[in-house]
């Protein structure tokens, strides 16, 4: 009985420890993970991370072994120890050699880290893909991302929000601006962090080698809704990207059905029009996200909610329940008006 009572808690604690250890591996994949790189920049960073992780792990294990050995030695020899006033010269020399060699190894390891860190930092900065690359101007607002695609051809310039599409295998240059406070752009699967600072233009470049959807997150505390200031990067084959861009450069589709026309009228006559733009209509304010193609986006509210009819309606009615403190006011629309407005916005593909 006593045997049993002791083994069961031990079994449970072993299981918990094993679970905790296994849970570490759960973060190895994923869409917002710097050790699951999908591009050359992120690969560089993750290589550096693994180098430091492995070396530090080995050092940690060695230190722990040395500590355990010394503790063990101390307990066995402690019984008949007499204070040594003058240690024998030979053991003194041996100890000095051990200290010198360990210090040298430590310095060498640190220098290896320094050089590795410097060179990967340099390669992130030095690759200059200005030629044939894509240029995007990214502006951080409280609490959403304004994305403006630049082009030498002015008819290809367009503005969207919170969703960046990029072609696979093409370097993309970002110029980063802050509209109000400092934000930070971080898509861990593709590149490192870079701050968006008001009154200054920072640059960063990234490239996706694998098609996929990656999540980015503001990485500099920027106020109440910093945690819900996210974006998606959609890396897709060139043809798909071209089709997407072709659609984005178009003006908004005109309202056709009666409900859509009613929705458009509500958009123009209520608070919406004060902050949002829909290209091709009189709505041209640039305080909030551009809604010209809002129906084609995956998420709303800076990657807060999936873009469905219900979510959009709830968001318009009272976005403060999802994202307290955000700049969009509550709207006291009747149900019929709200449905018409959602109908219109969803039609803006």
């Amino acid at each position: 009985m006593s045997e049993n009572t002791r083994t069961i808690p031990r079994l449970i604690s072993t299981l918990i420890a094993a679970l905790c250890f296994a849970s570490c591996f759960s973060s190895c994949g994923g869409i917002q993970n710097s050790i699951n790189p999908a591009g050359p920049n992120a690969e560089n960073i993750s290589r550096l991370w693994w180098l430091m992780f492995i070396v530090c792990s080995i050092v940690f294990v060695l230190v722990m072994i040395a500590l355990l050995l010394s503790l063990r030695r101390r307990t066995t020899e402690a019984a008949d120890r007499v204070p040594v006033l003058e240690p024998p010269a030979e053991s003194e020399r041996r100890r000095r050699n051990v200290v010198i060699s360990l210090t040298t190894i430590t310095v060498i390891v640190l220098f290896v880290f320094l050089i590795a860190s410097y060179s990967s930092g340099r390669s992130l900065r030095l690759n200059d893909p200005t030629k044939n690359g894509l240029s995007i101007e990214l502006t951080g607002h409280q609490w959403w991302w304004e994305v403006r695609y630049q082009d030498v051809d002015a008819s290809n310039i367009f503005t969207t929000a919170n969703e960046i599409h990029i072609p696979v295998g093409v370097p993309v240059n970002f110029s980063l601006r802050g509209a109000d406070v400092i934000h930070s752009f971080w898509v861990p699967n593709l590149a490192g962090k870079k701050d968006l600072i008001p009154g200054k233009i920072n640059t960063i470049w990234l490239q996706a080698d694998k098609p996929g959807v990656y999540r980015g997150q503001c990485a500099e505390y920027c106020g109440l809704q910093h945690a819900k200031m996210a974006l998606w990067v959609v890396a897709e084959p060139q043809e798909q990207f071209n089709a997407w861009r072709q659609n984005q450069t178009q003006q908004a589709v005109p309202a056709t059905t009666d409900a859509q026309k009613r929705g458009q009228q509500i958009f123009f006559s209520t608070t919406c029009v004060m902050c949002h733009a829909i290209n091709g209509t009189p709505a041209g304010s640039n305080i909030g996200p551009n809604l010209t193609h809002v129906g084609s986006r995956r998420m709303i509210g800076a990657a807060t909610l999936v873009n469905t009819r219900d979510h959009l309606a709830q968001w318009i009615k009272d976005s403060q329940t999802f994202k307290p403190g955000n700049r969009m006011p509550q709207n006291n629309l009747s149900d019929a008006d709200l449905q018409a407005l959602v109908e219109y916005l969803q039609s803006l593909k």
């Binding site: 008001p198 209520t270 403190g325």
Partner: protein, 198 residues
């Protein structure tokens, strides 16, 4: 006064002659508690509170038809909150009030930082100016700006001529200042004028 109270409190608690040390402790506790008095200065409400006033007719003179006196002056809740007044400042530029009124100095629209008021200087007057619009170019923003944001704008407009408390009025801009900050603006006594804007 405060010192004497804390001294007495210390005496009661310790039941021995209060030394300089316990007196100092009481004063510092009092000073710490004093910090909490500013807690509501920037308190925010995330769900829109219903507007406390609606548009009123402007009274240009004290003479009124019928019986009864002047309506009670209305308090704008945004006048008491630094956060609201600052939101008003943000909205003033984002909603492009500065397109006509500039930074308060006036241009296409009348100046807002001087003492002259054509359509009334009371919060409810400014409220109805924004919501209803006025002749000679002021558009109506009915339904376009939510009530609580209009109140914030009203508070900011009044801060431009120094009508708000100094601890509520917005401080200097992030960018270059076109004029003294609202906080440092001297209070001007409002004067009713019938002059049309130049």
């Amino acid at each position: 006064m405060f010192k004497r109270i804390s001294h007495a409190a210390a005496l009661r608690r310790n039941e021995k002659p209060a030394g300089a040390a316990s007196l100092r402790r009481c004063v510092s506790i009092f000073l710490c508690l004093l910090c909490f008095s500013a807690c509501k200065r920037e308190q925010r409400q995330f769900s829109t509170p219903p507007a406390t006033f609606k548009s009123y007719d402007v009274t240009m003179s004290d003479i009124r038809p019928g019986v009864g006196g002047m309506p009670m002056p209305v308090q704008n809740p945004a006048d008491q909150h630094a956060f609201d007044a600052n939101e008003g400042k943000r909205l003033y530029s984002q909603y492009n009030c500065s397109g006509c009124h500039f930074n308060g100095g006036g241009g296409i629209g009348p100046p807002l930082m001087d003492e002259k008021w054509i359509y009334g200087d009371r919060p409810e007057n400014i409220y109805s100016t924004i919501v209803e619009g006025r002749p000679n170019g002021m558009p109506s923003f009915r339904q376009k700006i939510p009530d609580n944001q209009v109140q914030q704008l009203v508070a900011y407009v009044r801060s431009m001529s120094g009508q708000l408390r100094k601890d509520v009025a917005p401080t200097r801009n992030d960018s270059m200042n076109a004029r003294r900050s609202e906080q440092r603006t001297e209070r001007k006594t409002p004067v009713q004028t019938t002059e049309p804007p130049q």
